[in-house]
Assembly symmetry: C2
Amino acid sequence: MAERSRGWARAVRGLLLDVSGVLYDSGAGGGVPIAGSAEAVRRIKASGLKLQLCTNETQATREDFVRKLRAMGFDISVAQVTAPAPAACRLLRERGLRPHLLVHDGLVPEFAEIDKTNPNCVVLGDAAENFTYANLNEAFRLLIGMEKPVLISLGKGRYYKETDGLKLDVGAYMKALEYACDIQAEVVGKPAKRFFESALAELGVPPEQAIMIGDDIVSDVGGAQQCGMRALQVRTGKYRPSDENHPEVKPDAYVNNLAEAVDIILQEL
Amino acid sequence: MAERSRGWARAVRGLLLDVSGVLYDSGAGGGVPIAGSAEAVRRIKASGLKLQLCTNETQATREDFVRKLRAMGFDISVAQVTAPAPAACRLLRERGLRPHLLVHDGLVPEFAEIDKTNPNCVVLGDAAENFTYANLNEAFRLLIGMEKPVLISLGKGRYYKETDGLKLDVGAYMKALEYACDIQAEVVGKPAKRFFESALAELGVPPEQAIMIGDDIVSDVGGAQQCGMRALQVRTGKYRPSDENHPEVKPDAYVNNLAEAVDIILQEL
């Protein structure tokens, strides 16, 4: 399909890449690179195209996340990662919000500079083992005690797969707190438009000259298209054949993997 | 208000009573009776009116629940309690469902006679301390692995109050699993119509001759009225003055407490 019509690959100046499912598959010991992806990242950089990673990762700081990617062979710097926690910190500062954090231990350092005394909002991430009955009740009590409860959710994923099985993602716990408090959370991360816009700003390229490449039909492809970007779905990671019949979202093209996407884009340069 | 128009109290043959917030307030050591309620129950029984308790209690078996009520001075038998777990057991048997239980330890004996091997549904109750990350992931994995996931929720309350603070109720966890699996739970308990209908069957009185008395404007009053019963809201338990401006539900009358309701009903007999 990608062979037939390559109009989508023209006039590109920058690429936004999802990470899990595009660069690597999460799994034992942190994950394994997807074949050809590290080489594809090197070719993007050598071509002069701008590159930014756009991830909903919230179990580690960007520093730790980049360390893991570099160990897998990806030539990436911290400034090239757009992630929900730094975006949430900007939002907290802009609005004078002091968060109570219900997040993974690995993410806490991202909020080191943020005033967390006398909280007036709750920030929810993929807290994993920190999703205890006591912690959920604590976050709930803080919210229900606010005159106007503010819940900021770092993503709204339903679930994800780890080597020991499927895990409920942050979106499920977001829904629990939304229902209990009769409120709507503010989502920071894909597919929020504002999050893509800050990734584009960091990329330094307007949406019509950028392509998003991801494995999630709704969060990556649909979200990027809403911002005026073109978007490709790779057939790696959480891609399922049924995605190709999605009732609402249609990617600009399908590619088998990141390497194939880069092949086509570089040919059109 | 109750003084002005007592038409609602005429032609009554049976009463359905909510328990927590009507008979007693939950709190330290299991709870304390609401003033006048034990005497009101005695007067109902002496009058010849039929009486059935209709509760969403799912932290204890009916036997343990009745033991607690009797210790507080309420002359109640197990057969006079309609509760979600026995209703769920009937539903499981009718449909050949084998549950995985995510419920409070105190409720497990209610399911002693039910085949729980090779589960083909999940039954969710107010599991309290059993709402762990591991247990929620386990319930989720079972559901998402089913061809057609069946989630049966014993109630759908948002939260409740205990002496050490507010707690998320079963409804919040139901919403988390609904979202993660993209399904709708089946609710057994108030305000489900079928649950009120089985309470009426146990009461042995048709809906137009029955009155529901509860403290929850939506679950007790709204649910009972949907079944053709009259319904009173007491100004005890979780009652809040703002309930009297509820946009959708209007009780047939307000009473200050169960004792006042019984005064009026017995005068009209």
